[in-house]
Assembly symmetry: C2
Homo-oligomer: 218 residues x 2
Amino acid sequence: MRDAYKRSLDSLRADLVEMTVLVHAAMDRATTALLDTDGALAEQVIEGDTKVDQIQMLVEEASYELLARQQPVASDLRAIVTAIRISADLERMGDNAVHVAEVIRRRYPDDAVPPLVRDTVAQMANVASRMSTYLEQVVAQDDIAVALQLETADDEMDALLRQIFVALLSPRWTYGIEGAVDVTLVGRYLERYADHAVAVGRRVVYLVTGSWPVRAVS
Amino acid sequence: MRDAYKRSLDSLRADLVEMTVLVHAAMDRATTALLDTDGALAEQVIEGDTKVDQIQMLVEEASYELLARQQPVASDLRAIVTAIRISADLERMGDNAVHVAEVIRRRYPDDAVPPLVRDTVAQMANVASRMSTYLEQVVAQDDIAVALQLETADDEMDALLRQIFVALLSPRWTYGIEGAVDVTLVGRYLERYADHAVAVGRRVVYLVTGSWPVRAVS
């Protein structure tokens, strides 16, 4: 019985790691599609999100089963409820990758990212990808040190988003309203993706240490 | 012991209702501040969000206590975990009200909403307020019929957001990039607010009926 219980907990974590790997790949593909104006790749991202949603439902049902049947003690209890919350954040991260892909779909075959902000968007994509790698470690191993690196990376993301807004409002912005709307949305989706990654990191820190990281996340 | 347990469950629900009332007031004030260019009211919304965050933490801790001490049966177990998830959505709804207020703060004393989209933004504000009222009923009474009305209202919200984008991309848009960025963000925050309300409604439907509403929510 206890062995089955242990296996169920391990399987729950394996599902969360799989979700993390999937949303990482989804956002990497979405930003690649964005920068390369690759409509087919964008469609793949949109279709692939079903898989993430399915695992999220599985995690939730498996968690209820564990809570109902095993009457877990305090620390396992927190781990299981935390798994439910983390799966919700990961699911939203997948949604943000889809939202980026939808911007490409709307604009295709035109570019959605004008040259003026191309480098900044590429940097945001890099930060998102790095944060996803951190997140894989955090979710797989409850690695607190890496969870804290998510906070630093999120600051980079916020700074890059501010650069985007400065570019949008500068006289050098000659790409019209349509381009401004696209870039505003893409910037916001990447920032949300990063925020959810931070939220997962903070949950893991709380789970392991019993207190929240000091920095407040808006 | 059972009486105390029942009281704890009631108190959990009371906290969720209070959160719903608070985020409703926050978004009402934020949109009023937006349409009236009222910087002081916007600041109140930003400051007031701490209260929502505090109740969310209380709900989460109280839920853990209940799960750990009372070993609730299946239906109560689902109700308690659902409370944790709902509190997270409500907290995000409060964040979206704050985000609207921050747009006002950035632009103040200028108007953030140009005349061309003023009516549409006002309609979005009305839909958000109506959805918040529905949500109060849903959270207080597990009212499934009202939960389904949230889905219809959310369709209205999405249609209004599409109108905003049409206006932004029309030749009648003479308010520049800055105005376009503000309106894109405000529209998106209101849409997210509505999406979280729908998510709460769907959780309550699932809790009561054991199955999700048919309409897929993106």
